[in-house]
Amino acid sequence: MAQDQALFEYLLRLGDNTLVLGHRVSEWCGHSPVLEEDIALANTALDLIGQTQLWLGLAGEVEGKGRDADTLAMLRDIWDFRNLLLVELPNGDFGQTLMRQFLFDAWQSINLGRLMNSTDPRIAEIAAKASKEAAYHVERSGDTVVGLGDGTDESHARMQKALDYLWPYVGEMFLSDDVDATLVKAGIAPDPASLRDDYDALIGRVMDSATLTIPDSRFTHKGGKTGKTHTEHLGHVLTSMQWLQRAYPGASW
């Protein structure tokens, strides 16, 4: 695979993860259980959308066809999205949202740490910026998972249910294809599989404190990062996220 094509695909994966999760998290705005959590979720969403602008902006540059971050975000259809299935799943209750956030933040913080050493300086500098935000996110989502997991019988049961539901979507983070292989060879990105040990160690520590049990299975749903098979949920996300640009192309204010 040509390196520029692989790089473009890889940047879409990074940018689509933060875009779709950022949009999902923003759906909580005005609906959270308490005001402080509402503000926290909105801030998290804002960081993720900011990171999206950087990743998709660079993707557009690498592609060289004049598409900017907005165009890539708002005018691609479902089959062109490259995000992990995990981030497009519905929010569920507050606990499920925070569990999904933690499962993602843990991976994101480890991956960004590795990308800071990328041989591509443009990627390294975005990773350095984003990793500060990701470190803050994983601290909060991890603390919340512990607080709710090791909380009341009700909150514990809900968090266990959330973990059981989301776990089969975790494995996709560590799968590789030609895109990864090309970039690993060039020293641009880490081998996804090489992140698994650090990830398992972090998740293990937090779930332990949260008194939650990690399901004993490595079965994984896949098809998000390759774009082959998204869930039906992504279509609903795009319908609400993109409607304005679809209805009024080129709209600005």
């Binding site: 402080e36 990171q51 950087l54 390294a124 350095a128 500060k132």
Partner: protein, 152 residues
């Protein structure tokens, strides 16, 4: 005659942060470079948080201020690296924050004292606050909630 770089830094030090107007953009540490390239002035600005909605307003404010001082040829560059850190907040910026009621960042990761009564008996309400750069805390003695400028 083109104004000196030192003069331009002084002008920029008069431009308030749009969200925390008590400190200037220079106090905040986001102006990373001021340089003449021929007859064009280049100002390098780094974002505080990648999604901070104030970023475009900040660029507009810089442009308005410098144009007001007669600088016509101006380029504002985004500089990502090295990433912004609260270590770049100036000492005067920290004092101004404190007086304004926002606890300045500390390496320990939490406010040193309540900006209202000075008590160290504090608790964290939320890791996030009214803007991306702040967290919400409360004083257990005077019971006042206050903003803490996150340390990153």
């Amino acid at each position: 005659m083109r104004p000196s770089v030192k003069q331009i830094w002084q002008w920029l030090d008069d431009v308030p942060d749009p969200e925390i107007p008590v400190i200037s953009l220079v106090d905040l540490g986001i102006i990373r470079g001021v340089e003449w390239r021929g007859d064009t002035l280049e100002v390098a600005v780094t974002p505080t948080y990648s999604g901070c909605p104030a970023t475009s307003i900040i660029n507009l404010d810089i442009e308005t201020a410098l144009r007001g001082h007669g600088i016509d040829k101006l380029e504002i560059k985004r500089q990502l690296s090295p990433p912004w850190t609260t270590d770049w907040l100036s000492d005067t910026g920290r004092e101004k924050l404190q007086k304004y009621g926002i606890a300045p960042p500390t390496a320990a990761g939490g406010p040193a004292a309540c900006p209202n009564c000075g008590s160290a008996n504090l608790n964290k309400v939320s890791q996030f606050g009214s803007t991306p750069c702040k967290a919400a805390w409360r004083c257990n003695d005077c019971l006042e909630p206050f903003d803490y400028f996150k340390c990153i």
